[in-house]
Symmetry: C2
Subunit: 350 residues, 2 copies
């Protein structure tokens, strides 16, 4: 790492305020403010004069002062485990794109999947007087005291993807049950009869729902549910590989894998190949999340797209609606998005 320094002086103008304009024009600051805010109580001529002068003097509104005065900062906070996860960064993008045209700025916070951090982030966000919070709860979040506290302070909150049941809080999620069902159904349609499931932590709603959808699809097709076929994994590649090891110790081997994570699906595929099995001929595999890599593999992996961009946009819309309502009444809105099953080579047999 190499670096070099150069010192130089910069001349920075003092920030110009409405008082500077008012002095120059021999009018009151109130008049200037009115002109700037399209207040009807002002003559056309003075308004135009003020506007012209403001531009000349390179006046910029101080949104901080505005915010203090109005009690509205026009900032929102987004709290996610890690912002560089493909899914989360896409949701944030959606939120940003929907909110920017309405004059909001998006502040990002990471929890690193840590409950303490989550509490901390919520608190500092509230101190900053943000107008709303979007969040996907951390895996280690046990109770919702911190969230209820935020609500009590009057901060609207919208959950996305990973939510908790908190009265008065809106949420935007995908139908994980349906996703699990669709994925399993597609495997069944390929002729698979012994479908194993690599589940995440079933204490988390999203994984529980994917699991339940899987079960329901089996039942609806009169396929037996084998408890041994359900392995708890942790979204890591290695976890997918060891799940396969475990499964292949069984007397009856699976002929398909529905994984609640793309990473475990990848690990499973790698392990299956290592064992000399052909995909999708011997074993069909479907993952979950539509991680970018699933598309680019030589054998592209079937997966479920959670439409993160849409999720972000809808979450933003829910927030905007909330802002337009009477602030004393909070609307709890539960939006459930339909995920998209993306069928690729890893689960197509014919």
């Amino acid at each position: 790492m190499h670096d070099s320094n150069i010192f130089l002086l910069i001349t920075m103008k003092d920030k110009v305020t409405i008082y500077d304009i008012s002095k120059k024009l021999n009018v009151s600051a109130a008049t200037v403010s009115r002109a700037l805010n399209n207040n009807p109580k002002i003559s056309l001529s003075t308004r135009e004069l003020v506007l012209k002068t403001a531009k000349e003097m390179n006046y910029k509104q101080n949104r901080l002062a505005q915010a203090l005065k109005s009690g509205k900062s026009n900032n929102v906070g987004v709290i996610v485990p890690y912002i560089n996860r493909s899914f989360f960064s896409s949701v944030i993008r959606g939120i940003e794109e929907e909110l920017t045209p309405h004059g909001y700025h998006v502040i990002i916070c990471q929890t690193h999947e840590n409950y303490e951090n989550e509490i901390e982030q919520i608190n500092t966000l509230i101190n900053t007087q943000i107008d709303g919070i979007f969040m996907s709860v951390s895996k280690t979040t046990l109770n919702t005291d911190h969230i209820e506290k935020a609500l009590a302070e009057g901060t609207p909150l919208v959950f996305f993807d990973r939510k908790k049941e908190v009265p008065g809080v809106s949420s935007v999620i995908i139908d994980d049950f349906k996703a699990g069902y669709m994925a399993t159904q597609q495997l069944i349609e390929q002729g698979c009869k012994r479908i194993a499931h690599l589940s995440g932590d079933l204490n988390l709603e999203i994984y529980k729902n994917r699991h339940d959808g899987y079960i329901k699809a089996l039942e609806d097709n009169n396929l037996e549910v084998e408890p041994d076929f359900i392995i708890k994994t942790n979204s890591k590649i290695e976890s997918g590989a060891s799940a396969i090891e475990e499964l292949w110790k069984l007397k009856k081997k699976p002929d398909a894998i529905f994984s609640a994570s793309d990473y475990t699906a990848l690990g499973a595929i790698q392990e299956l190949k290592k064992m000399g099995l052909k995909i999708p001929k011997d074993v069909c595999v479907t993952g979950f999340s539509n991680e970018p890599f699933t598309k680019y593999m030589e054998l592209p992996i079937s997966t479920v797209d959670q439409t993160p961009l849409t999720m972000g946009k809808i979450a933003a819309q829910v927030f905007l609606e909330q802002m337009n309502e009477n602030k004393k009444v909070s609307i709890e809105k539960k939006v459930v998005l339909t995920p998209e099953l993306i069928v690729r080579g890893s689960s197509i047999r014919n």
Copy 2:
């Protein structure tokens, strides 16, 4: 999409201020403020009383008011083309992690590679009184007027990855020349003698430097530079495929590809396989950026890691240093990070 509404009343307490505390305790607001700010000019007993009462009353500092008073918002803005690109979201993560412990919040803005948006984003950020701006310029950014304007307003700015030459602006980039050199050198060491280069837009500094590093490595190894071997591509998969088509029309075919983008490298690999060529036996391939997918391919792709997390952290450190200096003097700091060549199956011959 299904949704249901529930209406409910929430009771939100009015926000408590230092005046509320001062009234309750029969002291002045100034005293409360001092207690809250660890000001030495206060007795231990009153401080503790105030602190205790503040907690009891659930007092939260209003950072907006603080900001207005101090002229420091403790917010910074980050401007990138798209926040859900793996590289950018990782840089942002680095910035966030370095700045959060110092009490800063990170506001994100996207330009969509559009110059007008970039100008707009800078302006609204300045209105919000952010304390600094981090940015990677858009591909379509032609001049630097908007940036110089921001500087003139007194807003510190730090470039990362994609920079422009603006006096007084610090930057954190990787050594793209060295990266191009290292990648090419490694291909040469595999015995490749006819190395083609899929370059990006050579008007952009980063691509120009990668290209120049490639040329220098060839020269240093007494390999001929073939102008026909340098194809301009656009970071899309298809662009990589068509580049291969073009190259394989030549009389003399390449035996290696150094691509300035992982996506074009992928497209090239797909096309080469389609043509029946073996990688790395017939053709070695190296990409650029360490996109997540390169690691997970059945044949993992060699690439250059730009250490985005580190880049974000260093950019944040540069900013923090700047904040500690006399504000009338701006330090221009140019940090050049050494990228990491990641050699994988696509370019290992033995």
